[in-house]
Symmetry: C2
Subunit: 143 residues, 2 copies
Amino acid sequence: MEKYLAVLKEHHFKITPRRKAVLELFLREKRYLGPYEIKQMLEKASLEVGLPSIYRILEELEGSGILVKIEHSSRRLYYSLCRNPQVSHHHFICSKCNKVEEVEFCNFSEISSFIEKKLNARVQHHSLHIEGLCSECRVENSS
Amino acid sequence: MEKYLAVLKEHHFKITPRRKAVLELFLREKRYLGPYEIKQMLEKASLEVGLPSIYRILEELEGSGILVKIEHSSRRLYYSLCRNPQVSHHHFICSKCNKVEEVEFCNFSEISSFIEKKLNARVQHHSLHIEGLCSECRVENSS
DNA sequence: GTTATAAATAGAAATCATTTCTATTTATAT
DNA sequence: ATATAAATAGAAATGATTTCTATTTATAAC
Ligand SMILES: [Mn+2]
Ligand SMILES: [Mn+2]
Ligand SMILES: [Zn+2]
Ligand SMILES: [Zn+2]
């Protein structure tokens, strides 16, 4: 937690009860979470937070590298904690339990140089969406 | 064109003037196109098509493998022609002129087996969003 | 060519996630 | 303690996408 609060300070964000509460939620949950779901979870913990505030906080946390945005096929917004923003990596999403796991691997430079050569283009960004069944859900499914 | 109409028939879709008109648009344009933009382009060609019909047609064409859906960072829907749906490949999007180019390359199996080993998970789907400047826009920019 | 049929379409309306706006409150530096 | 900019709530707006239904149309069978 301290680690993340420090990051917020670096980005000149104030440490507020709402920001802390949202952070705590993500530290506890391995699943990706959506704005409304977050609102309800905070309510259960007796903290009323307006939806616009939640949207704003999520954006700020993402901008600071603390959260990753997940573009769900439903086209709704979800977020989950990114535990290692420093190195280039990806995230594996379990389509059954919605768990998000770090994938400390990225071979994008291969595609990137293929494109730069073949298309004579300049590659700027990439994002990889990887979905499947996590170790637990995989077993459950085969029974 | 004939090739794509055949695909539609395989999928038991009727060959209608709207479907043909939408297809023609994509055959001419290298850019990705959005639903409303498509409506306007068809209007200019004197064909009135309702927005719901356009959304439906685009989904059908995507489901048939003729178009690729593009998840823009604005979170709006765009589509472009996929010229080779058979082999596993990706698409390069120019962030300046919106051109979409085929990338006949996919090294996803490396990440996939990394994940399956490291996380003991089952990988099911992946999609890669690659953005940058195409050969033309790259030059313009450096001037 | 007719006809029967399911599929396709238009247009109005609804949906609903997300964003905007503004008055009020709060964290924090001094 | 105080000043200040930042954060927040809540109401309202937005706007892309979807739903619904009556009407039209492509197509296959005759
Ligand atoms: Mn991460
Ligand atoms: Mn393609
Ligand atoms: Zn799982
Ligand atoms: Zn370009």
